[in-house]
């Protein structure tokens, strides 16, 4: 079998006594767009943070393309939740995107012309080039989300983790973002996205992970995103109606 882009073995994370993520093991092949789906409190964000070592884990091994996570850090891109930062920070859009280059720059080196140019290219890709010098608090929610995305693009990673990139953005921005993610996939990148809107899962993701503390199912969306598994994941709390377009409509 081809080497997995990401391999997670026996990942368990607990904040206090109860585990938030329990015994999760999976592999994802390269060049896929993977949606992470599950009810509130299912540990979707925690799973990502655990993989990225942002929260301590009780157990678990992460390998990226067969190498340890630490050695592959530069090939990992991350889009945190937009609310995780204070947008009234004294900086502009271009500066934030340039932060994506810091990992490649290393200690003590200052971002220079080439970093600036790269950041501008990434801003352009998310359609935000004209806002480069805008103070970040002056941007709308959707624009801020695009800035975060541009920053992740500037990381030039092979595997991306995105924590709810579609929350609080308008339909146009959502379409623009998903188009970008599809482009990344076309280039052979792997993108994992924490996602809430079940109605768009089939349209957006070629793979789906169903998570509720434990890994319920992972695989190609048409195999995994079916009423039976969804009910299992959401504890039978979903009302599922047959729908012609997406196959699923949720009430």
């Amino acid at each position: 079998m081809e080497q997995a882009a990401l391999k997670v073995e026996d990942l368990t994370i607990a904040y206090h006594k109860k585990p938030v993520v329990e015994d999760v093991s999976f592999e994802v092949p390269e060049g896929n767009l993977i949606g992470i789906i599950g009810p509130n409190g299912a540990g979707k964000s925690t799973l990502i943070k655990g993989i990225l070592e942002l929260v301590p884990k009780l157990s678990g091994d992460i390998t990226i393309k067969g190498a340890t996570y630490k050695s592959m850090r530069k090939s990992i891109g991350y889009v945190p939740q937009r609310e995780s930062v204070d947008w009234d920070f004294p900086t502009n859009a271009l500066d934030v995107v340039m932060m994506g280059r810091y990992g490649h720059l290393g200690w003590l080196k200052r971002p220079g012309k080439s970093e600036k140019q790269k950041a501008m290219e990434c801003l352009d890709k998310v359609g935000m080039a004209e806002y480069a010098n805008r103070q970040i608090s002056q941007l709308s929610g959707g624009q801020q989300q695009r800035i975060f995305l541009a920053r992740a693009l500037a990381q030039e990673a092979d595997i991306y983790f995105m924590d709810e990139p579609f929350v609080g953005v308008d339909a146009a921005t959502e379409k623009a973002i998903i188009q970008l993610l599809m482009d990344l996939k076309e280039k052979g990148k792997t993108v994992l996205v924490v996602h809430h809107d079940l109605s768009t899962v089939k349209e957006y993701f070629d793979w789906t992970m169903l998570l509720n503390k434990r890994l319920m199912k992972i695989g190609p969306t048409q195999e995994v995103f079916i009423p039976e598994y969804l009910q299992e994941t959401y504890g039978g709390r979903l009302a599922i109606l047959p729908d012609t377009k997406s196959g699923l409509l949720l009430k």
Binding site: L52, D86, P90, T91, N92, D95, M99, Y102, G103
Partner: protein
Amino acid sequence: MNLLDIMTDPNTRWILLGTMFLGLSSGVIGSFAYLRKQSLLGDTLAHAALPGICIAFMLTGVKSTSFFLIGAALAGLAAVFLISVLTRYSKIKQDAALGIVLSSFFGFGIVMLTQIQQSEYGNQSGLDTFLFGQTASMVMSDVYMMMAVSFILIFTCTLFFKEFKLLSFDPGFAKGMGLPVVFLDYFIMMLIVAAVVIGIQAVGVVLMASLLITPAVSARYWTERLHIMVILSGIFGMLSGVSGTLISTSVNNLPTGPLIVLSATAWFFFSLLFAPKRGVLSSVWRRVSLKKNHSLEQERRKGRYTS
């Protein structure tokens, strides 16, 4: 004394130099503390320095800034450690944890201070001046120490500007990138402790936090760029040090430390009122002119229909 006398008095010149560097360095490092929403942490570290200094004095029996620095740094570390233990293993939130640690360390410090003053060294120790500061007790070596620490602080902040910036804006992203966030956290705290220690003699532990926070808050009003804010904050701190010292020497028997703090507050009010864009006056002006334009526009439209 008039201004010229003050400027030519060598002793005052030394004190001026010292408070200037103190303001500069605490303004610079304070910017990061403020942006990381750790304003109260500066206050806690300042108060926690008192028992550290007392223990250092009790152990060595001499009044030496470098020993005090070590004592304050260790006490600061202990305070920070306690805060993180309290927030991690109990349901206490950070503000409450800071409050508990601040007051208990300070209480402990006061107890020790009283002990020291009743001991054989008695009043000669002069440690009581550390509560509210006393510039008159500063000697030349203290000023050298202040200068040295300022240079180190400013040099470090310049060197690690990129890392400090990322850490202040988005620690999660910084961690994901592989920056040693916990280490940098402690590192910044140690820099704050260093600024606190050199400030204790002039401003005192009780008021020191104001020199860390107020210049940074003032600077934030004037700019939307981090590096400019840090520089401005240093300048505001420096101006506060200078103006506070000058006022206290030209008016008899006014305490320098509190005057430095009040000068910083004056600069804050100045910024609050007059800063472009963020200032109160400018936003009032913006609202008024917006309203005026709006009503003019309405008039114009009405006029068009009636004529």
